[in-house]
């Protein structure tokens, strides 16, 4: 099966910084329906991987490919198809939604900028997306500040799914949320992915969040892949001391 998204021997260096490689020889593939978790701590290279996966930057060496073809950031038509198919969800629902815009306008933004739909078709799709994420029919007429953190993240997810993407690339999508809301939003991701045949790439420092959602896991440290494989295997039999340390550091409830 052709991977949806793949990084192949990718290295990346931020221009003008002599701090070395942000990513060094990173390879992994996202198969259709196989949610992937990318785990690491500060400085691991998570944000850089995210920028590459979203087509916001091109690698120094190696390739990022989409549907088996290398991604070319200068190919405007190709990038528009890419952006329709690969949508981001960001971490902080408090800062990623424009407070001056009504929710329906926020959710409909990808439809306008990617010229996917307009007029009554757009309105129908916005309403369907809001319903899909479990918000009321009148949510579109309100403003972000009228919603709780969990509801705002649902609005951000509605915006991500409105264009009918095949992949959601989510950057710490539940880290700013309370534990109960966190679990509810992860369940929402799981349901939407199943219903719409979407694949999720989840970038997080939190192994538990990845474990809850993702079939495979890539552990990054200092810009390199230290371990990758089936999540179940990575958690049960970590191959490296670093993954073991990450697991051991997670606080547990007393049994």
């Amino acid at each position: 099966m052709e991977p949806l998204l793949a990084l192949d021997e990718v290295s990346y260096r931020y221009p003008g910084r002599n701090t070395g490689l942000a990513l060094d020889d990173v390879s992994f593939a996202v198969q259709p329906g196989g949610h992937v978790g990318i785990v690491g701590e500060s400085g691991a290279g998570k944000s850089t991987v995210l920028r590459l996966l979203l087509g916001l930057a091109a690698p120094h060496t190696g390739t990022v490919s989409f549907d088996g073809a290398p991604l070319d950031l200068r190919d405007r038509a190709g990038m528009r198809r890419f952006r329709t198919a690969v949508q981001p969800v960001f971490q902080d629902p408090y800062s990623s939604l424009d407070p001056r815009q009504r929710v329906d306008r926020i959710v409909g933004e990808p439809l306008r900028s990617l010229a996917v739909a307009s007029g009554s078709e757009a309105s129908d799709r916005i309403e369907a997306a809001l319903r899909d994420v479990g918000l009321d029919g009148d949510a579109g007429r309100r403003y972000p500040h009228e919603f709780s953190g969990g509801q705002r993240q649902r609005i951000a997810i509605a915006r991500a799914v409105v264009s009918g993407p095949r992949v959601l690339v989510a950057d710490e999508p539940v880290s700013a949320l309370d534990l109960t809301t966190r679990v509810a939003v992860l369940e929402l991701f799981e349901r939407l992915a199943a219903e719409h045949g979407m694949t999720i790439v989840l970038v997080s420092h939190d192994l538990a969040v990845v474990a809850r959602l993702c079939a495979s896991t890539v552990v990054l440290r200092g810009g390199r892949v230290v371990e990758s494989g089936a999540t179940r295997r990575v958690l049960a039999e970590p191959e490296t001391a670093y993954t073991r340390a990450l697991l051991d550091a997670v606080p547990r409830l007393p049994v």
Binding site: T180, L207, A215, R232, R252, L253
Partner: protein, 268 residues
């Protein structure tokens, strides 16, 4: 002896009468570790601020907050300045906001030492180095000369803890002190807090939405929902057999994430 902090029937209201914290009562004695757990909007952070007389303008506290033998509710600013730092000292979630970005770490730690303990000159310099060494910061000489942005998130939180410990408060008030940190750094900072509090026989008021973090850190816990105490008791009991539906939900969510971690992905 009177507890270090005794909060009785604390009520916090807005100017237009909304009740944000409603009838909260608890005590923290010397060497005791109390957790307040709850979700966004539960009133846990406001309670922590009220203990220090730091409520934002427009909010009013009634009831009683006694820190040692000082009544904080309604106290003038001059009285409160004597309480803060010396009787109760805070550690906040994001050390970058607690630290002055334009001031070297050493100077920031020196300030409360000068103000509350009257240290000057060589004695002050020694006390600053000792405070930095105490929180297990490597290369203390380099750290005291560093600006906050030259330090990592974990190092900044250690500096903030050093500042809080500097005046030997009776109770340390930590509000989500590790939420912004990586999980391995979180474990180190929690260990540091454990040790700091135990070594000094200090009380700890620990506030977090993260039940597993609270459970590993405190002895007793207070569960807040919408400003009211719904459950309290020894943290082991509350976590093992939560009596209230709200607590059951908190425990259930924490266990769901933990089970995912323990079992790997279900059905995969």
């Amino acid at each position: 002896m009177t507890p270090a902090v005794q909060v009785t029937d604390l009520r916090i209201t807005t100017a237009d009468g909304a009740v944000l914290v409603d009838g909260v009562t608890f005590a923290v004695g010397d060497g005791e570790r109390l957790g307040i757990v709850g979700e966004s909007g539960s009133g846990k952070s406001l309670t922590a601020l009220a203990v220090q007389g730091l409520l934002p303008a427009g909010l009013t506290a009634t009831g009683s907050v006694r820190v040692g033998d000082v009544e904080v509710v309604g106290a003038p600013e001059r009285t409160l300045r004597g309480v803060r730092g010396r009787a109760v000292a805070p550690v906040f979630q994001e050390p970058m906001t607690a630290l002055d970005p334009l001031m070297r770490a050493g100077d920031q730690i020196a300030e409360p030492l000068r103000r509350h303990r009257g240290l000057r000159g060589a004695a002050l310099r020694d006390a600053v180095l000792e405070a930095v060494t105490d929180v297990a910061l490597p290369e203390p000489d380099r750290v005291v000369r560093s600006y906050p942005w030259e330090l990592s998130g974990g190092q900044r939180q250690r500096v903030a803890i050093a500042m809080a410990l500097a005046c030997r408060p009776r109770v340390l008030i930590a509000d989500e002190p590790t939420t912004a940190l990586d999980v391995t750094v979180q474990a180190q900072v929690l260990d540091l807090l454990d040790r700091a509090v135990a070594d000094r026989g200090m009380g700890l008021l620990f506030i977090s939405h993260d039940l597993p973090v609270v459970a590993r850190t405190v002895d007793r816990v207070l569960v807040l929902e919408h400003g009211r105490t719904v459950e309290e008791g020894p943290v082991q009991d509350v976590v093992r057999s939560p009596a209230q539906p709200y607590t059951q939900r908190l425990v259930g969510s924490a266990r769901a994430l933990q089970d995912a971690l323990d079992a790997g992905r279900k059905g995969a």
